[in-house]
Amino acid sequence: MPLFQPYSLTVSEVTRYLRQLLEGDELLQELWVEGEVCNLSRPASGHIYFSLKDSSAVLRCVIWRSTAQRLRCRLQDGEAYQVHGSIGVYEAGGQYQLYVDQVRSAGEGALYLEFMRLKARLEAEGLFDIERKRPIPAWPRCIGLVTSPSGAALQDMLNTLRRRFPLAEVILAPTAVQGEGAPEAIAHALEQINAIAHPDVILLARGGGSLEDLWAFNDERVAYAVAASPAPVITGIGHETDFTIADFVADLRAPTPTAAAELATPDKEDLRAELVERAAGLARGLGNVLFVHRWRLDGARGRLKTLSPLGQIQQKRLRLDDAARRAFQAVEYHLSLQTALLSGVKLHLGALSPFAVLSRGYAIVTREDEAALVKQVSDVAPGDKLRVRVSDGVFGAQVTQPDE
């Protein structure tokens, strides 16, 4: 035995390598495989295990529970199917297998091809053009329903319309929505409801079902009837994931019948809220008008006051009062000025008065009988009586002898 044997991989390493190889291959990650189902097993886990086989090979397949729950067609042993998925490796089992995410019966596969052909043709005819789509009226007065009279879709739509927009009138054009003759029946119902009821909008609806169940909506007669409808058409067919030819032709596509009813109508509660807002706007508007009028009134009242006869008298009285006050002030000023002048003159006069000299010891002598001043000796004779004025009064005197 050589000391160093060729390097050997572990089982895990080989398996992981194979897994990377297979899972890295683009073709193997996205493929449709057709074959006959065998060894179908549905354990309690909810996953589905089976094999697809043809005359010379077998492919193991798994459908996980989450996928299994939304499968529309139920697998049966011995039947032929087309399955879609990706190839992966289950390391613990040493197996490669197909992880399936879509299943269709072989018949469905044929339908799918037909669907694609019709879709391409109608698209080329311009039936799906965006310019063809008409606006949905915001306020449908009359809503046409084209659906089965016994289906859950009808009740769903009626409940929704009743809750959201009970102001509308609903016209039901009952029609078969699946089976033989359904396409003609649907097309006829569309024509009839337009001709008789003239609805503002039409809801073309059907609840969920298998691809075969929805097949009537992939018929070109229905497509042309939708395109020819004078009223805009909203489709609500099947579930979220279902697309039919009618959906492509419709003016608006809703995922479900309930959603179609919602898209066709305003909500009552929104209307109520709008109404409250409008009522508030009304009060605000009147408030503004009142404010402006009051403001103008105040201005006018002010101007009127000054212009009125009474106002003018008041104005004149004010002016008169003002003039009187100023005249009075002028007189007062004049008087005080005169008083000041007068007292100055008095002082001056005092200095000139002959009586002022008396205080210095002079006397004024007059004859008693007459007021004449005695100025010379010759004015008097002995015995004459005289009056002598000194600073503080007058006394009598008699001439004794003249002294010449």
Binding site: P174, I196, A197, L275, G285
Partner: protein, 76 residues
């Protein structure tokens, strides 16, 4: 309020459209006071009308029956 007053004959849509116009008019232009008050009163009546229409509305359902309409209430 008698049935002859025109406001009672207005649909929700008509009444609401008129209400919107009145609010816009009151909010934008100046107008004589009596006109403004008349508009306000009309607006209030319209609000009432819309409100009661919403309150009283019951979805009318009829069914196409061949060439005619029947008052089909097929509530299941």
């Amino acid at each position: 309020m008698t049935e002859l007053t025109p406001i009672e004959n207005l649909s929700y849509e008509q009444a609401y459209a008129e209400l919107e116009a009145i609010v816009a008019a009151l909010e934008s232009d100046q107008r004589p006071l009596d006109e403004a008050i008349a508009l306000f009163e009309r607006g209030q009546a319209l609000t009432q009308r819309c409100s009661s229409l919403l309150d009283q509305a019951e979805l009318k359902v009829r069914m196409l029956n061949g060439e005619s309409l029947s008052n089909g209430s097929d509530e299941a």
